[in-house]
Subunit: 431 residues, 2 copies
Amino acid sequence: MNKSVMKVGLLGLGTVGSGTMQIIQTNQEEISRKIGSELRITKALVRDLGKERPNLDPHIQLTTDAQAIIADPEIDIVVEVMGGIEPARSYIAAALTNGKYVVTANKDLMATHGSELLLLAQKQNRGIFYEASVGGGIPLIRPIKRCLAANKILSIMGIINGTTNYILTQMTEAKKDFQDALEEAQAKGFAEADPSNDLEGRDAAYKLAILASLCFNSAVDVNQIATESITEISLRDIMYAEELGFVIKLLALGEETPEGLLLRVHPTLVPKEHPLASVSNEFNALFLKGDAVGELMFYGRGAGSLPTASAVTADIIEAARCIKHQIENGAAAIPQTAKPIVPMAESRSCFYVRLKAKDQPGVFGSVANALGDEGVSLDLIIQKRRDFNLAEIVLVTHDVPEANFYRALDRIKQIDSIRNISNVMRVLERS
Amino acid sequence: MNKSVMKVGLLGLGTVGSGTMQIIQTNQEEISRKIGSELRITKALVRDLGKERPNLDPHIQLTTDAQAIIADPEIDIVVEVMGGIEPARSYIAAALTNGKYVVTANKDLMATHGSELLLLAQKQNRGIFYEASVGGGIPLIRPIKRCLAANKILSIMGIINGTTNYILTQMTEAKKDFQDALEEAQAKGFAEADPSNDLEGRDAAYKLAILASLCFNSAVDVNQIATESITEISLRDIMYAEELGFVIKLLALGEETPEGLLLRVHPTLVPKEHPLASVSNEFNALFLKGDAVGELMFYGRGAGSLPTASAVTADIIEAARCIKHQIENGAAAIPQTAKPIVPMAESRSCFYVRLKAKDQPGVFGSVANALGDEGVSLDLIIQKRRDFNLAEIVLVTHDVPEANFYRALDRIKQIDSIRNISNVMRVLERS
């Protein structure tokens, strides 16, 4: 289709929508050269027509009526940057049905209704592009789909939540306690007023669902992803981890095993020499292993107006190329089935345990026996005097079945001289 | 074009060619599903028909005659994995002229004749894909071209030579001296018998030429890239760098300035907290800054049979998709002109200097004066006693014009009590 102008309608003109408008304005000439047609935003859906918008391109017509965009026969590409499940889902479905190509930055929607929308796009012989839904500006979706097309992806490990990574970095580097680090993240705009979605690992689980669906070709249900919070991590854990050669990160992990998919989000002790260990503050990274390519890592800003808009705009350019060459969403892997999920209790890990015990003869021996009785062997041990008559013991186990570890932990809890188990975290094995 | 089979001819069946054959065999079904047609290697050009090839697919016809592949009307995609400039260049040109799509892993050829071949492909309405020519299996070319399409790329910094990175990592981590580390790299297959192309930075310069052409849309002449060797780096430099908070890496750097392109390959002190600092051993990484996306890094294996073949195969799949949808090499940015190159002497850097001086009063003052007189200010200083009556002084300057720094260095050399300048390297400024 040799259109001289490609017309774009924006559903939403908030942070990402405005950023997209700004990038397209600034790079108009370069983008048009890449597409071979002029790219023009003609309409934008807003909530309030009266709001001051000092940088608004006067050629963009504002509307409060979504139909004016998704049913406009002149518009080729609909860009959904409003967020939330409804009405975004209905608008996107209607746009696809009307023959539009769709670009979305909507993580929640793609994590919960991605398969359904991808199938609809395929049925309509159109495309839906969602690079901006995970990892902000970091190219992830397209490189996985296209550049790793010759690989079977074996595992993925990501730092894909900027809020928690900022908090953990500040605890590690500035020795701030959790509460101070959280407040600083909120002051800098890296954490929301209600940060629980981030802290509990749910935001990362949504992104993991999108990535795992793509990497393992399975319709992943986000509710099947086990999540653990970072709120229990204390400065003592941070400092012991450091002493043992680790940094603590909230990792999202996905792995395909013969038994099914193992998917989880939890705080993890990462060896200092691992490439993920140096991903600091608000930065994100995805580390993956492919059967041919080996280890890869993609690193960058996982949020923010311009980085996210960079991904949205790249998707718009891709959609425009598809329209020009009359191709659908290029052989997207659309997962038709859901592979089985391996329960956490059936997985294996190395574990970090911090516990307090009465400082008396035989305590360490009884802890070691409890572990040994369940076949749990130790890799690293620290014991320090905490207070008068109280010792703090920190252990890192070798790789063991979760079930064995938790049985051993139950035995330890029953030892008389054990005061409490202060914290338990998983540990990424050193290669 | 709805072909049920896409036929591929391999020019070369060495490490990368065999790897490509192996990947396509292993993932036949998955790849065919992605393309929507069966992908089949039908012929391969070899030097010796009699050589034992135990893993050869019996359906692949071997030939010593390149014409049997590049002029075969049945073959859709020609894959050049033979290396060298000629006859690879003539073969590729003939294949394009015959209407084939071309995939190449040839760094030397793309660095020296890339613009010419890209233009020919465009003229023929075909495509030439070269992801494997830089960074082995790491997706670089396509993410830059497609995922960063909305960005102006401001600068690139890469560890794109595995041999030198392996040597420098071994010197840093195992405190091996240069010669031992080189011999180990050779024993492990990470360095060639004649390693000078790697050690002198020429291999990295070729890759930088390819990346810079793409990122800055300019026909970069590899001969205009300034290179410096790693052979002068001693363990003392490694250890001083460590003490000052740096690791030494061979970096390839490209930057677009108002005066033109600044392109260079040289050993560099990289701050330990920089993401490039943790790129170890044979791994490669490209760090870049875009005006919208901010900082990005791509990390992985820059060489090896399967990683490189992973990129070649992804390119073959891309070419097959282009054939299917009758599209050319998708709006590739083909640099028509060469932007001016900024001479090193007109650039700016922070510098590391290690020098030996007689241990007598006033020495440090005269060094400091020489620097101050040329407007060079100091960031970090170490002075240690080296031998009886001999001091070793290590300096790191702030960011200064190269010309000023070298004038100051000339002044220092003329100071009576200075025995020698042991080494000078550039330093990446901490952000």
